[in-house]
Amino acid sequence: MITIAASPWQIGGTPGPTEAATLKPETAAKLIQIAKRPILVAGSLTLETKVSNGPLIDFIIEWGKLGIPVVATKPTLKEFLKRGFKPSASMGLSDLINRLTDPTWSLDGNGAHDLIIFLGIRYPILSQMLSTLKHFAQNLRTMSLNGFFQPNADWSFPNMKEEEWKEKMAFLLKTLKEK
């Protein structure tokens, strides 16, 4: 198995001199725990992506129940509701990213968010959306937890094989629960 860290998953995807820091699950847990106004964005791949105990959507619900606000992108909302989980909000990904560039905007109107975590979003579109936030939302930090290195995030998991990613996700959730 070849694991290439800190190299964009898509070859040629190096955006410039500023790239994401590679993230380990224990660091991710700490960053999430110290964030004051984080949100977790769940994208359209949450159903077809599998983690160790089933589809990613169930993992997100479990995490959401710990208290982090979950934003379901529009195509995923129905599946969350089917599972009896009401996300904090549901918006189109483009709509959400656009609003996040406004430092006065937040989901609940109680002040800007400081950490945006992304899961289950197709690589090419997430890469571009993270680029928007990198340049035009300097008040917040972004974290990509898919198993593919996203250089436009502030923090990203490195490129990993599926099994390794599943292990890291399980570890992350376990750490967050133990807090």
Binding site: I2, W9, Q10, I11, G12, P15, G16, P17, T18, G43, S44, T73, K74, P75, L77, K78, L81, K82, S90, G92, L93, S94, D95, I97, N98, R99, T101, I121, R122, Y123, P124, I125, S127, Q128, M129, S131, T132, K134, H135, F136, Q138, N159
Partner: protein, 783 residues
């Protein structure tokens, strides 16, 4: 009324004494005096320059400001750079990332406009030489407004080919002006760059119209007939025992010579004449004997099949490695455009016999022939002579050989990592080592055919060929029907649908355009089209999207073209034609404003755009966004107030134009009756939106058709679709219904109880339905 244009020479004499004569204060202007029939008074903006419509653009950009997604944080455009523009750092020329992105948008839209402008110029010159400048511009019966974009932008009503000369000069002049603005040290404001990009889009749309009207008139293409012939499409439709010519590109004039030559020699059935991409669409408009292989995503795969005996290239969307690809299968290339010479020897002046000989013997792998009248004979003779010689190349390598290739796979994942749409190619190839080709078959339809996977493969596995072989049986059954492109939308159709469209009883026009870089295959375009057709939208399509729609059969085993009529009407599917035919889609919106609403058309851009923005529910779907040309087509639509929904791959266009529905002040219009400012809700909410998935695009399409001018019945119908489709795919009532209901009469009858309860929860207040305009000068009486 005679018009004086193009003041080219001015002679001025202040005072001249010659013998007994004194001339004082004489000024002579030598220009072009055009006598023309009176048809409509000239409007305020004939042949606008890059700054003429700036105030209109800024109105749009105020409601829909750009959101940028840089693909690269650097600027490498001049010798000061590379300049790092990350997080709003400034480059050596002073530019920041926002303005630089806007400049990139301008550059790309200008590239698109230039490609279409040159295409129109090529057609003009070829057809002028062949048919003469007096060729009538004939858009067909029941068509008075033959060239809505030309009339709107330039103020010219073209009657003969010669009338387009001035239009083309204007296009070329504007392209130079737009390109100039991208130079270092020129424009610095992102909003002005965006305004200029709108201008490039408008120029692009004008070029499309010129190109298609010229070819429709010269080649007797269908002129708005809805029941054009059903044409064979799909690799499975070709008879591989016959010599086969494959045309690729967008400019059909060279390929038409092939058909003409075969018909002249009464031997049309002796060869297969096929095409890929828009040239194929236009060949099918010329002859129902031509066959379409498919959209551009099939290009590399079909070439690898080895079936083509001769490849004729013209311009645009051709794989730039085509010569090498063709050499692999010993297929000669005939390049026919100065835009793509491929390093080939120019044999334009050589006798046909010499050229054919050079190609058949392999003296040259291809030739450049710039005289299209020669192309037909050369292509046909070469195909006939070379077909028996290259029989052994008419197949991809056998399964055993390909599995041997797959055995070299080290599972390094680099093929997937170099795939623009992140397809799991790695798993498919790795599994092929065991002889299981199923995963390769699965990704065959999803693959966009760019070949980047191969260029990254260290053991040089021919992945595209692997896919082609794996899907061999499937390809044999790729037999579909597409309706030949009908071209222009007739005035009679506009009169029929104008009222129900503007009042909202027909919920909208959905136009599927653009390239095939789909996130999950072409089937999604067909599925979206079918959903809108069932909901009685007017569905129109062009180019590769039209071909993708054809490659899907419904439950009854019919393609959508067989299942739905080709009219421009509710619940109909009109294949308008190739990429240049997009002019007729945009032209239809303009014609509704002119023919149905009687708004003056001639050089009256702002008023027509204002009408479309506020009254015509039309949306462009660019699901497989790829080329600069797609972007420029869409940007032209944007300037007219037509929203565009782009597929996720289009995030690499790097810019959206997004509204924010909670910002009431952005969605205010004047009520033209009173001058009062009225809130219209997010109608339409966005001008350019990138959707994450098919379902999001579908819902967004229904929503963006909602316009401020809808009658209550029309708004009921549009809301019914919006709410129903939102509930179906997202499971809930949309959270912005209260912003789109103006009075209780707008509430869909079948959902009344539920919606009224929702409105109550949102503390909804009724609003008036204005006679909407964002142009102050359109107010009829002021309070």
């Amino acid at each position: 009324m005679p018009l004086l244009r193009d003041k080219t020479t001015r002679v001025s004499i202040k005072k001249l004494e010659a013998g007994s004569a004194i001339i004082e204060g004489l000024e002579v202007v030598i220009g072009k005096i055009i006598e023309e029939e009176p048809w409509e008074p000239i409007g305020p903006t004939p042949m606008p320059s890059i700054a003429t419509l700036r105030s209109w653009d800024f109105r749009l950009l105020q409601r829909y400001p750009p959101t940028y997604s840089p693909l690269c944080d650097m600027c490498c455009m001049c010798a000061i750079g590379k300049c790092d523009l990350t997080k709003m750092k400034k480059g050596g020329c002073g530019i920041d990332i926002r303005a630089h992105q806007a400049r990139e948008i301008l550059l790309r839209t200008t590239i698109g406009a230039a490609a279409h402008g040159k295409h129109a110029r090529h057609l003009f010159e070829h057809i002028s030489a062949k048919f003469g400048d007096d060729l009538s511009i004939d858009a067909g019966i029941e068509v008075e407004v033959e060239a809505p974009i030309t009339r709107l932008v330039t103020g010219i009503k073209p009657k003969t080919l010669a009338d387009f000369r001035e239009v083309l000069e204007y296009i070329e002049n504007q392209i130079a002006s737009l390109l100039s603005a991208t130079a270092m040290g020129q424009e610095g404001s992102y909003l002005d760059f965006e305004s200029k990009a709108f201008h490039a889009g408008m120029i692009d749309n004008l070029a499309l119209e010129v190109a298609d009207l010229i070819q429709m008139s010269a080649y007797n293409f269908p002129r708005g007939e809805p029941d054009t012939p059903l044409i064979d499409i799909g690799a499975g439709t070709v008879n591989i025992s016959k010599p086969l010519i494959l045309s690729i590109g967008h400019n059909v004039s060279a390929s038409i010579e092939i058909i003409d030559y075969l018909q002249r020699n009464d031997s049309m059935g002796s060869l297969e004449v096929t095409g890929l991409c828009c040239t194929a669409q236009d060949l099918a408009r010329y002859s129902d004997q031509a066959k379409i292989i498919g959209p551009i995503s099939r290009q590399l795969k079909f070439i690898r099949s080895g079936i083509a005996d001769v490849i004729v290239t013209d311009e645009q969307c051709i794989h730039t490695n085509i010569l090498q690809e063709a050499q692999e299968i010993k297929t000669p290339i005939i390049a026919t455009s100065d835009q793509m010479c491929l390093g080939l020897p120019d044999m334009t002046e050589e006798p046909v016999e010499n050229i054919v000989n050079a190609l058949v013997t392999g003296q040259h792998p291809g030739v450049l022939i710039l005289d299209h009248s020669k192309v037909g004979e050369v292509a046909v003779q070469t195909a006939r002579m070379i077909a028996p010689i290259r029989k052994k190349y008419k197949a991809v390598p056998d399964a055993k050989t390909l599995i041997e290739f797959a055995e070299k796979c080290t599972d390094c994942e680099r093929c997937r990592r170099n795939c623009p749409i992140d397809l799991p190619i790695d798993k498919a190839v790795y599994e092929a080592r065991t002889g299981n080709l199923k995963k390769l078959v699965d990704i065959y339809d999803l693959c966009i055919g760019c070949g980047r996977c191969e260029s990254e493969c260290t053991p040089n596995i021919p992945i595209i060929s692997l896919m082609e072989k794996a899907a061999e049986q499937k390809i044999k059954f790729e037999k579909y029907k597409i309706r030949a492109g009908r071209g222009i939308i007739k005035d009679t159709e506009i009169r029929k649908v104008g009222r129900p469209l503007v009042l909202g009883r027909i919920p909208g026009i959905i136009a599927f355009a653009g390239c095939p870089s789909y996130p999950r295959g072409g089937i999604e375009v067909a599925e979206m089209a079918e959903e809108y057709l069932k909901r009685k939208y007017i569905v129109v399509t062009t180019g590769c999207s039209a071909m993708s729609i054809a490659q899907y059969k419904n439950e009854e085993g019919k393609t959508l073209y067989e299942a739905y009529p080709g009219d421009f009407d509710a619940g109909c599917l009109a294949n308008v034609g190739s990429c240049v035919s997009n002019a007729h889609v945009i032209g239809a919106a303009i014609k509704i404003a002119n023919i149905f609403a009687r708004r003056p058309l001639r050089a009256n851009y702002e008023e027509i755009a204002d009408y479309i923005l506020n009254r015509i529910g039309a949306v462009v779907m660019l699901w497989g966004a790829t080329s600069q040309k797609s972007l420029s087509i869409a940007t032209g639509a944007n300037r007219l107030g037509i929203p565009v929904v782009i597929g996720p791959q289009g995030a690499r266009y790097r810019r959206m134009l997004l509204g924010r529905k909670e910002k009431r002040d952005k969605y205010m219009v004047y009520d033209a009756r009173t001058g009062e400012q009225v809130f219209i809700g997010p109608a339409p909410e966005h001008l350019v939106y990138i959707a994450e998935s098919k379902t999001e695009a579908l819902v967004m399409g229904t929503k963006l058709c909602i316009k401020p001018n809808d009658t209550t019945m029309g708004r009921q119908i549009k809301l019914t679709h919006y709410i129903d489709i939102h509930k179906r795919y997202f499971g809930t009532i949309p959270d912005d219904v209260h912003l789109l209901v103006r009075s209780e009469a707008d509430v869909p009858f079948t959902m009344k109880e539920e919606i009224l309860s929702f409105l109550k929860e949102k503390k909804w207040q009724p609003n008036i339905i204005p006679d909407p305009t964002i142009l102050k000068r359109m107010i009829r009486s002021r309070k």
